[in-house]
């Protein structure tokens, strides 16, 4: 009954989406408020029904109801509860259900909090939202029904893929989807603006917080996924330029560009057409990512042959939405009025430069990801485009961008003075040069590129702090006055500082990890000692242990640095009987931002075990950077400017200010 109820709830959600796609548009045509308002109730009801559907699927997983195909294929009665829950989206059908649930959540949020949006704009936004939702409900119901039953229910399930049985699965996909799907809001707003043929600064004020929310989640989601791969896959890699990774990087790059162009539009009413286009492109890239991953087209072109219905269906959705919105854009954009003018050297100019580089970087990833596919279809030539290509083409695009980052916030709107900005950045420049000189002197004859890259990172961080010091008058006026000024600083300014500094922090981590990584690969026997980067690791012994649904081999390492004992490390290797697969659980020892990383390989016949030990200097900065960026985004989101418009009782506002 539960499965049927879940299925039925999904069908009802589709029905609601169909109503929501049509009625509000008619209402907006006729100026009928009642019809337009219908969008809000249907959006909220959609969330209710999809939420119910999702909850029911989760219940089925928790109950281990193996009469449902999805549960049978991805669950096991002995699996720990947390993985029974996360296993819901650890498969194709369930993850698509999560996708539409989040889409419904965002739709309902607009319906619930869009009180002071113009009625017709709200009606259009929700209608567009329902078009997307309707298409994906159809996709799930027609090709990937998670509630399908088995006639002869088996007694035990096939278990979830062991590599997915990790806390990462609880955090990473929901975060990523919140980001991906969050961009649907800016898409819906863009399409609604095109339909209405009207766009103003108020529109941008609405779109920016939504974009920011999506961007924060996407940033955290990508970073989380990267860290998960780093500790789970066993060789310490954290970014592989894999097509599925690129699929999430492209919307991030476009979304970051959108965030910055929406800023220009909000403040200066310029770059309107471009912002609309970026909104469309960002969500299109999210859809493309969904298509690439869900159709399996990138593993092989022949994935269509193995499951043609799914791939073709998503491709169809992709063509209709991307083609449709771009056609609408081509039709309507020329009629949108251009906004304020600005000189090339100005805050706007800097943000345009940011957009140029980010979109080019995005285009590079796009071409690199899809070129092999296109070439194979057209010429049946097979080529590979992998990490070496992207490192060579993508990285150089970020160098000029990073050089320019500190200038942006220091330039005034409309018309700026580059020389004055450069003068204010003198300290940052000196700091960067000093960092380069010290590093070059410290490791004479070592790699040259790495110190330069670190210098660039120092430049970005010091530049971000310069803007802050300038605004608060740090070191120029008494500290107490500075402190007061810092408190009065708009949260958005704080946000900019953290986000930009985060970029530099991540860069330091990336450079240190790739340049000064030390590794030790050998077969070790008990009592043998490995020496890596000054650390001594002594293998004390191997033990066996039985877990809930796996057996594991643990290796105990006693770790010491210069004779000082450190906490022991116990990497393990788990083998899961149901799937006949094994996973590696690396042991991590964190020292500051650096990590010692030990993972196990196969046991050899003579009682030894293959061991890989890495010392990764400052590796954690790679993920602290994005966390700082997301934190900056949250600060910016809490800016007064973005809260304005959300009606709040006066007392609540006063309380908030007191808390600041």
């Amino acid at each position: 009954m539960i499965a049927e109820a879940g299925h039925y709830a999904l069908v009802l959600a589709l029905g609601l989406a169909l109503i929501q796609s049509v009625v509000p548009v008619i209402g907006a045509r006729r100026g009928d408020v009642a019809l337009m308002e219908m969008a809000r109730s249907t959006a909220l009801a959609q969330l209710l029904f999809v939420g119910a559907s999702f909850t029911l699927l989760t219940t089925l997983h928790v109950m281990s109801d193996f009469s449902v195909v999805n549960v049978f294929e991805n669950s096991h009665s002995a699996k720990p509860l947390i993985y029974k829950i996360t296993g819901v989206w650890g498969n194709h059908e369930g993850s698509m259900l999560l996708w539409v649930s989040i889409l419904a959540l965002f739709g309902a949020l607009v319906a619930a909090f869009g009180n002071n949006l113009p009625a017709s704009l709200r009606a259009h936004v929700l209608a567009v939202q329902a078009w997307v939702a309707g298409a994906f409900y159809l996709f799930i119901l027609l090709t990937s029904n998670p509630f399908a039953r088995i006639a002869q229910p088996p007694i035990e399930g096939r278990d979830l893929n062991p590599i997915l049985q990790d806390i990462g699965l609880a955090v990473h996909p929901p975060m990523l989807y919140l980001g991906y799907v969050g961009f649907s809001i800016s898409f819906s707003f863009a399409v609604a603006a095109l339909i209405e043929g009207r766009i103003d600064a108020a529109w941008a004020r609405w779109v920016r917080p939504w974009t920011l929310v999506a961007w924060i989640f996407l940033t955290l989601g990508i970073a989380m996924g990267s860290y998960w791969a780093y500790y789970e896959l066993g060789w310490g890699g954290w970014w592989f330029w894999d097509p599925v990774e690129n699929a999430s990087l492209m919307p991030w790059l476009a979304g970051t560009a959108l965030l910055h162009s929406a800023l220009v539009m909000e403040k200066r009413n310029a770059l309107k057409v471009w912002t609309i286009l970026l909104s469309i492109l960002t969500f299109s890239l999210s859809l493309l990512g969904t298509f690439l991953v869900r159709s399996g087209v990138l593993t092989s072109v022949h994935a269509f042959a193995t499951d043609p219905a799914r791939g073709v269906f998503i491709l169809l959705i992709l063509c209709v939405f991307i083609g449709g919105s771009l056609s609408l854009f081509a039709l309507r954009a020329p009629h949108l009025k251009q906004g304020g003018l600005f000189a090339p050297i100005s805050r706007e100019g800097a943000l345009v430069l940011n957009n140029l580089f980010l979109t080019t970087a995005c285009a590079t990833v796009f071409v690199g990801t899809l070129y092999p596919l296109g070439l194979e279809v057209l010429t049946s030539d097979k080529i590979s485009v992998g990490a070496p290509f992207f490192n060579l083409t993508f990285a150089p695009l970020f160098v000029p961008l990073l050089v320019a980052v500190p200038f942006g916030p220091l330039l005034p709107w409309k018309r700026g003075d580059l020389l004055a900005a450069a003068q204010r950045l003198t300290v940052a420049g000196i700091a960067a040069l000093l960092a380069i000189a010290v590093l070059l002197a410290w490791m004479r004859g070592g790699p040259v590129l790495a110190p330069l890259a670190i210098g660039l990172a120092v430049w970005v961080i010091a530049g971000a702090l310069t803007d802050f010091a300038e605004r608060t008058g740090l070191f120029r006026i008494p500290p107490s006055v500075s402190l007061r000024r810092a408190r009065g600083l708009p949260r958005a300014a704080w946000g900019t500082m953290f986000a930009h500094a985060g970029l530099g922090v991540a860069l330091i981590g990336i450079v240190c990890e790739t340049t000064w990584n030390s590794e030790y690969i050998a077969t070790m026997k008990p009592e043998q000692v490995a020496r890596v980067a000054g650390y001594e690791l002594k293998l004390q012994g191997l033990t066996q242990r039985q877990g809930p649904n796996y057996r594991e081999t643990l290796a105990q390492f006693a770790v010491s640095l210069d004779g000082q004992p450190l906490p022991a490390m116990t990497p393990s290797k788990r083998s899961f009987a149901t799937r006949g697969m094994s996973t590696t659980e690396a042991a991590l020892l964190t020292r500051g931002a650096s990590q010692l990383y030990v993972s196990l390989g196969d046991a050899s016949a003579d009682g030894g075990i293959a061991v890989r030990i890495y010392h990764k200097p400052l590796v954690l900065l790679i993920w602290w950077g994005p966390v700082l960026m997301a934190f900056g985004g949250m600060l910016s989101l809490s800016d007064r400017r973005l809260r304005v418009g959300a009606p709040k009782p006066a007392r609540a506002i006063r309380k908030l200010q007191a808390a600041e």
Binding site: L176, P243, T379, L392
Partner: protein, 169 residues
């Protein structure tokens, strides 16, 4: 889910081979310089049965065979490019993760710089045009051009009803 899918693909790779590691202890060459060369080359070579993984990262048995082959060629005294040529002759261009520049990959290699240049030129042309069409000087936004002044005077002179149409308070 993207990451999960990567992991799924990796898991598939693991599933049909014995669970093994990327570079394994028994593969490593005694000469550290040659080994370092082998590692660098491995990063540029694709494990053909995996999803976009280099043989340096992959656990698949084929990747191991290729790693051993690379080390064999290096030990036999091949230069880096000879090793790559050897592998391309055997397995085709597909084995290279960084495609070579040839008529088929022109677009791939040139698109990023062209996109940047094209974008830059478009911006430059656009901002020039807008500035010329709009304002060359801040004041001229408010000032009427001589043609506009003439036309305004003409309108005021020819249409006496303008003022009478205004509703009087």
């Amino acid at each position: 889910m993207k990451r999960a899918a990567t992991i799924l693909a990796l898991a598939a790779a693991i599933a049909f081979g014995s669970p093994a590691y990327a570079v394994q202890p028994d593969e490593i060459l005694a000469d550290p310089i040659k080994e370092a060369r082998a590692r660098e080359l491995s990063k540029e070579l694709r494990c053909m049965v995996c999803q976009n993984q280099s043989i340096d990262d992959s656990d698949a048995p084929l990747a191991r065979d290729l790693r051993l082959l690379v080390r064999e060629r290096i030990s036999a005294g091949d230069t880096d490019s000879q090793v790559l040529d050897f592998l391309v002759a055997r397995y085709g261009e597909f084995v290279l993760l960084k495609p070579r520049f040839n008529p088929h990959t022109v677009l791939l290699w040139l698109l990023p710089p062209l996109a940047l240049m094209g974008g830059g030129i478009a911006l430059w042309v656009y901002s020039n045009r807008r500035r010329r069409a709009g304002v060359s000087d801040d004041e001229s936004v408010l000032k009427l051009s001589p043609e506009e002044v003439a036309r305004l005077e003409e309108l005021l002179a020819s249409d006496p009803s303008v003022s009478s149409r205004e509703p009087h308070p």
